[in-house]
């Protein structure tokens, strides 16, 4: 019994299909609880007023945007090393979710920045890095759609994902060198001395859990779709032959 057994598409489908509704309902419930708790049952910040509540969407989306790229990197490596198709398809499935998360983070950031910094957009290192991350997602997805052969596309996008990861990290630090910004530092770290107060911290945790569940559910769903799409295409090819 090893984890690689689930790389068999049939086994993967059979195992994840019954889990999927639970994950989706879990995501729905935690998101509703977290957001309602965050929006209506936490006090306003003494300086930022109620705008601080964008935090409950902004932070989890931003965390997911980065972590989804990391997940794509891992699944790409698994595909290149062990040639498991489910892994490549999961990476493909995660791309559009990642780009939407990046957009949510950028959009909520702009909405939050307008009243607090007095501007929708500044070329701050963190904001800029996210825009760059958005471009990386865009290129990755464009390469997937441009190549017709499935295995070639999986190989090339995996190589791009690995090289892109190195350059994304490079850009992150290069951008730091280029401009010092307005964005605050990390305030949710587990090891930092000064973090957000517990009143804000617990609903934020629930929201983050909700976003993670939502992502897991969507990835499973989209991977199922990709597998079924491939099966349908194989059937079509067999019927024509």
């Amino acid at each position: 019994m090893s984890i690689w057994e689930y790389a068999n598409p049939k086994k993967f489908m059979a195992t994840t299909a019954p889990v999927l509704p639970w994950v989706m309902w879990g995501a729905g419930v935690t998101l509703v609880v977290g957001l309602v708790w965050g929006f209506f049952f936490t006090p306003d910040d003494y300086r930022q007023g109620s705008t601080v509540k964008i935090f409950y969407l902004h932070v989890p989306a931003a965390m997911m945007a980065i972590n989804i790229w990391v997940m794509m990197l891992v699944t790409s490596l698994v595909w290149l090393i062990r040639r498991h198709h489910v892994s490549a398809l999961a990476a493909k499935a995660a791309g559009p979710i990642g780009i939407v998360m990046t957009l949510i983070a950028l959009f909520t950031g702009a909405v939050w920045g307008q009243p607090i910094w007095g501007t929708w957009w500044v070329w701050d290192p963190r904001l800029t890095s996210f825009l760059i991350l958005f471009l990386f997602y865009l290129g990755y997805m464009a390469l997937w759609t441009a190549i017709e052969d499935d295995d070639t596309a999986a190989d090339l996008t995996s190589v791009l994902c690995i090289v892109g990861s190195v350059f994304a990290v490079l850009s992150r630090y290069a951008v730091n060198f280029w401009n010092q910004g307005l964005h605050q530092g990390a305030s949710l770290s587990l090891d930092a001395e000064e973090n957000v107060a517990d009143v804000f911290w617990y609903p934020a945790l629930v929201c983050i859990a909700g976003f993670i569940l939502l992502f897991v559910g969507l990835v499973i769903l989209r991977t199922h779709t990709e597998i079924r799409l491939r099966r349908a295409r194989a059937l079509e090819a067999r019927m024509r032959a």
């Binding site: 441009a146 190589v159 791009l160 280029w178």
Partner: protein, 218 residues
């Protein structure tokens, strides 16, 4: 390797078009900028480092799709892949040949175009040095992008979408060094970091390029 390099250079020079086209594009972009932002010399001299770098980067981008496309069309790419030369070395040579035919002329032409934009006197040396250090990285990254898209019929636009984000660190350090040079600060940090990127790119990307080529030749 030397023979392959000579062949690529001869092809680039004799086939015409691509060789001078990048330079002409560089010139035209630089000429267009004052029409766009206005002719005030102080403004132009302030944005000159960035404009020169961005224009050089776009000019280098123009000829990228030719790196492997011609070899792919006439069938010499599979021959190169089966030759005793490792494919990684082929990728490296292709990158170097692209640099000699586009990066080097751009570097040499940049100071002349700097006059058009009223670049600060102190910045010319930095412009030359950063382009000399930075354009090889642009060529090698571009070779990687060209290897990814070599099998595609309409790869050109996709190529720019893939390659331009990868150019960001090189651009940042290059333009920053020139800007610091123009303002009379020390640009050593930016120069060293840019050199590091170039060396790292030449150490690792030939392998990624060769991997992508193997997938496309399968």
């Amino acid at each position: 390797m030397i023979a392959l390099l000579k062949r690529d250079l001869a092809l680039a020079v004799r086939a015409g078009g691509g060789f001078g086209l990048g330079l002409a594009f560089f010139l035209i972009v630089i000429v267009l900028v004052p029409f766009g932002v206005g002719p005030q010399s102080e403004l132009l001299s302030r944005i000159a480092p960035g404009i020169l770098w961005v224009a050089a980067l776009l000019a280098a981008l123009l000829s990228l799709d030719r790196i492997f496309a011609l070899d792919h069309e006439d069938g010499s790419l599979p021959l190169l892949a089966t030759s005793p030369l490792p494919l990684e070395a082929v990728a490296l040579v292709k990158g170097v040949a692209h640099w000699i035919t586009t990066g080097l002329p751009l570097t040499l032409a940049a100071p002349a175009l700097g006059f058009l934009l009223n670049l600060e006197t102190g910045a010319y040396a930095f412009l030359l040095i950063t382009l000399l250090i930075g354009t090889p990285a642009l060529s090698m990254i571009g070779t990687f992008g060209a290897a990814l898209t070599v099998g595609l019929r309409r790869g050109g636009l996709l190529l720019s979408l893939l390659v331009l984000p990868l150019y960001i660190p090189t651009l940042i350090f290059g333009a920053e060094a020139v800007r610091r040079g123009a303002d009379g600060f020390s640009a050593a940090n930016a120069l060293v970091l840019q050199g590091g990127i170039t060396l790292g790119v030449f150490a690792f990307l030939p392998f990624a390029t060769a991997a992508a080529l193997r997938v496309n030749l399968r």
